[in-house]
């Protein structure tokens, strides 16, 4: 699998250079959000706002009022938990064109509870005027910058960083989910890093005779409920959602709401964090521990179909192991 190093860094710089109204804001996580090179090369377009997110959110609202489109860079969790009131009053309500670039979504950080945005989708999608996007591969990271900047209003983006696999060869387009497989037994809905897990499981499931229909979401709000319902109606056994997030309020809830509102009765298994916090650890460990990995998906398929597949970890494609501590970022933060 092709791995792309720091896809955000180049994509943001290229976009910002073409759009003088774009400003780069950071809250003391500049290299962690891959904008250190931008800071060094374009200091007049870079605004350090320090460890003060409440001010940063309202300040960005003021920049938006002046006609700028600030890109805010921090870990996703720091963009909404502490400064939620500022997000509401200064950014979301007045529909400022503020781009919230949330790095290290869900369990992609070993930083534990304080660093893990596990309810960000749930929070963000309930906010009127907000658009919510999530990247699942390097191509989506590269294309989300320009795509998010087309939105006439605020946007929250879950961004992958560092060494990111390339799964797709077409850019992220808001509102366009990707149909990755068109099987007839089970519908699997994924987003972000769980798409790669589902791709790992799909090969083994196919060999075991299970035909999977697989949707990859990159636009979580607005949510295309009608298309989800159409896909759900076309499978025999039911639906599984797999998300790097709490199952409440996230993709599992969105799919459940879509099915219920359409009056479509399908069994639904929601994989992800089950009303629990996570803790610090490597991504593969956390995905296994909290039932968010490829094998967890296989077991959910078995529950849905009522048939054992015989698949074990060895049957799955090799797990991509990443060193938590790398030379590039000793802390992994």
């Amino acid at each position: 699998m092709e791995m792309v190093n720091r896809p955000y860094a180049g994509a943001f710089e290229a976009h910002a250079m073409q759009h003088p109204e774009v400003l780069c804001l950071s809250a003391d996580l500049t290299s962690s959000c891959e904008i250190d090179g931008f800071r060094d090369r374009h200091p007049d377009r870079f605004l350090s706002l320090g460890m003060a997110e409440q001010n940063m959110l309202s300040f960005a609202g003021g920049l938006g009022l002046a006609g700028f489109r600030p890109f805010l860079h921090s870990f996703g969790v720091f963009l909404y938990r502490r400064p939620y009131d500022q997000l509401m009053a200064s950014v979301a309500y007045p529909r400022r064109r503020v781009r919230l670039m949330g790095f290290l979504p869900g369990v992609t950080t070993p930083g534990g509870m304080t660093h893990q945005a596990i309810e960000d989708i749930s929070v963000m999608r309930t906010i009127p005027n907000m658009t919510v996007l999530e990247t699942g591969d390097a191509t989506e990271v590269e294309s989300i910058v320009a795509e998010a900047d087309t939105v006439d209003g605020p946007v929250y983006c879950r961004i992958l960083r560092g060494s990111v696999p390339r799964l797709f060869d077409t850019p992220l387009q808001i509102g366009r989910m990707r149909v990755l497989a068109e099987g007839g037994d089970v519908l699997v809905v994924t987003a972000g890093i769980t798409t790669e897990e589902a791709i790992r499981a799909r090969g083994a499931l196919a060999r075991a005779g299970v035909s999977v229909r697989h949707l990859h979401l990159n636009t979580l709000k607005p949510f295309d409920a009608a298309q989800i319902v159409d896909h759900a109606a076309s499978v025999r056994h039911g639906v599984i959602t797999l998300e790097n997030h709490l199952v409440t309020g996230g993709i599992g809830s969105m799919v459940a709401e879509a099915l219920a509102e359409a009056g479509l009765a399908r069994r639904l298994i929601r994989l992800g964090l089950q009303d629990t916090y996570a803790h610090g650890g490597s991504r593969p460990y956390l995905m296994r521990h909290y039932g968010m990995d490829a094998l967890s998906l296989v077991r959910a398929v078995e529950r849905l179909t009522g048939q054992k597949t015989g698949i074990d970890e060895g049957a799955l494609d090799a797990v991509r192991i990443e060193a938590v501590h790398s030379a590039a970022k000793a802390e992994a933060l």
């Binding site: 309202s58 300040f59 609202g61 003021g62 700028f68 200064s90 309500y93 529909r95």
Partner: protein
Amino acid sequence: MRNEKSTEEVARGIRARVFEHTIRNNGGYLSQACSAAEQLAFLYNEGLNLGPSTMPAVPPPFSGVPSADNLDYVTGAGYNGPFDAVHDRLFIAPAHYALVAYACLIEVGRMAPEGLAMFNKDGSSVEMIGAEHSPGMEVHNGTLGIGLSTAAGLAFGRRRLGHTGRVCVFMSDGEVQEGQTWEAVQAAAHHGIDNLWAIMDVNRQQCDGAMEDVMTVGDIATKFRDFGATVAECDAHDLAAMRAAAATPHPGRPLIVLAHSRPTQGMDSLMSRFPRLHYVRFKSEDERLRMNLEIAAELGIAPVELEAR
């Protein structure tokens, strides 16, 4: 745009209108008119460079919140004049001062007196806690402490755009209890945002009562200086002193004018309620009638004519 009235007359008019409204409605932010009348009168009548209002004198009804489906949405900023490169912008950070701000808009000819009759009426844009769409308002500041940050961002953006107009925030001293106020000052100082200034109504009162009882804040002038602001202080009821304070040079830094006020200025009868001054609602019909006579006499106006109950 300069008004025909003197700033002193505008301040007297603000107190009279808020007094009349409070008596008629048996409640209102009356103490805020006492403490802030000169500050708002100064800002609108001489301190700020504002163009003529772009909005109808009688405020239009509430026309929906901002959304992708409501593209005709406008804020109440047009009452403060056009949004252009040369004029100043004003945020009323303590949004519960709205009643006082509306009274000021009437006194300086930017809103018709009928506007105040719409105050806090269902379906009206003249809301009790000033909203973005309320006359004279431009952003939501109802959660105290966010106004200065927003103004700092606007001022930074305006500087990049080459605007000559400045950004002013009318603040309340209770806001210094919020951490965000200090985040805003340090950011404005760090980035040298000197097209930003604020005038703060230092009345030492907050919702629960006197600030020294609710949460001691210490020497806020020193604190603001330590966070990087230029600070000027004045008696909030001495317009000459206010003019001098607002004219303080502040190159490379934001200016904070601390206007030390009295929460019963012009209406000493209110002292009988001290320290419960945040929202004046009369405890009895007797108190209401007594206050009507006493305060009217202090203000040198006729008592409010009340319909028989």
